[in-house]
Amino acid sequence: MSAVATEPERGLDRPAAARGPRKRWTRFVLPGYVTAFILYLCFPIFIIILFSFNQTRGGFGTSPRVKTTWLGFTGEWYSRLFELPDLTASLRHSLTVAFASALAATVLGTLLGLALARHRFRGRGTSDFVIFLSISAPEIVLGAALASFFVSLGLPRGLGTLILSHTMFSIAFVTVTVRARAAGLDPSLEAAAMDLGAGPATAFVKVTLPLLAPGILAGFLLAFALSMDDFVISQFTQGPATMFPTWVFGSTRVGIPPHVFAFATIIFVTGATLALALALAQRRRRA
């Protein structure tokens, strides 16, 4: 793939270079811009990590708030991570909901993805369109719809409704991921297993499932990450149980405790490292 792609690219550069040194500075415009753009995208991350080490000057009795100016380096917030019970509880809620909803969405999304990739059935086009809608609908509409649903049923909002809602918006993403993997799968492999005496269930568990595994894992991780990050749908369906992002949003009015930035830094480093490790592992397997 890369061998094919790089060959003509060298050709692309040739006419520009042939035009002589007068035009040469323009070669740096685009790469320079891309670098500046990436710095802009990552600037808030840098600020969050930096300010998680910032000192605060708080009065006695009130919990500390992050200051907008740099007051000096401290590792204090990392040693006092679990100091705020509400924040810790909201993180626990977020992790619980992310895990439960990702699990549910993975099971349901895998089945749906397989069906869409394998079978032509009535309503296939409609399900296609519904998946497309639920991926591209504004989150506030999904949130308002789910809140309407729970209000109409008179269902009290809490962790249960959160898990249900997060499962709902994750299914479409798992479906798309698994379907992409299933589309590249040779159906004759399953047929071969059945020719060799495996029942349909055995063929599915021993042949199809292992081949789909990377897609399923990717779908699960995507669903988990989306759920952890989600704010809008959580705010509409949470009731009294706050999640990590909604707790942070609620505290913006009085000021953010520095523990939030410390947690964000830890989540960022863990997530990025995990994603990098997975990508590298996949590349090694392919090579």
């Binding site: 003509p8 299914i171 991921t177 990508a279």
Partner: protein, 269 residues
């Protein structure tokens, strides 16, 4: 196959039904099929609907202008490092977008690193501020959505055979002509997808208006109204009607897109 229906269509029906009810949160709501709820909701919030549409349009244009060169460069000149670049572009997603928005409110605060520095060297008057203005809200939404602008652009640009550009140059097209007549028209499906994926969430956003606009007069968007009606005033019919209008707008956009290009391009990734 019905889960998706259960979990997506039924809540939508619940919202549609709620949007036609009358009553109050204390006495309860009755279904009265009052379609005037829609006209009431829109005329009462015309200002916010208009501001959301305008902000959405500005964000989409700015994000496209910012994103296109980046997607173009990575697609044509990224070489072996394409995936590395994409990974870097997705790095911000490892931090919750609420916290990223809060970080911008730090960066742009009156005595923060940007404005504070510029003020201390005298480039800006002391009274100058960005937070609490529409500029801050638009900048915040653009920042949050620009990765969603880049990805579809990149996907469509990456599929263009670079030999086409060479062929154009062999036929004496300048770099600019080759771009305008060959690359750009071929990337149009990506541009449409990017417009859809940027404008819809931009119109529905309310976090940036809350955190960066700080509910200053003239910054709130229709999303803030929906959120307030649902979660504070508990005037569900009005909130549901407004959300339904947003949904309708989005469906119109999606149908146009599907007619032009088909949904499989997106759902099959």
């Amino acid at each position: 196959m019905l889960w998706l229906l259960l979990l997506f269509i039924i809540p939508m029906f619940a919202m549609a039904s709620l949007s036609l009810q009358t009553g109050s949160s204390l006495e309860g709501f009755q279904q009265t099929f009052r379609f005037a709820n829609f006209t009431d909701a829109i005329s009462a919030n015309a200002e916010f609907v208009f501001r959301s549409l305008r902000n959405g349009a500005i964000v989409t244009v700015v994000a496209l202008l910012l994103a296109y060169p980046v997607a173009y460069w990575i697609a044509f000149y990224g070489g072996r490092f394409k995936t590395v670049f994409l990974f870097v572009l997705l790095l911000p997603f490892f931090i919750s977008f609420v916290i990223r928005t809060v970080a911008w409110s730090f960066i742009l605060s009156d005595d923060g690193i940007v404005l504070g520095t510029l003020k201390s060297i005298g480039l800006l008057p002391d009274s100058y501020h960005v937070l609490g203005t529409t500029v801050a809200v638009i900048a915040g939404i653009t920042y949050n959505l620009v990765p969603f602008t880049i990805l579809p652009l990149y996907v469509s640009l990456e599929q263009i055979d670079p030999r086409l550009v060479e062929a154009a140059k062999d036929l004496y097209a300048s770099r600019w002509q080759a771009f305008r007549k060959v690359v750009f028209p071929l990337s149009l499906p990506g541009v449409f997808a990017a417009v859809l994926l940027t404008s819809i969430p931009a119109i529905g956003d309310y976090v940036n208006a809350a955190v960066l606009g700080g509910f200053a007069p003239g910054t709130s968007m229709v999303g803030n109204v929906i959120q307030t009606e649902f979660l504070r005033n508990r005037d569900y019919p009005e909130g549901a009607a407004l959300a339904f209008v947003l949904m309708a707008l989005m469906v119109v956009g999606a149908v146009i897109y599907a007619r032009l290009l088909g949904t499989e391009r997106i759902t099959e990734g």
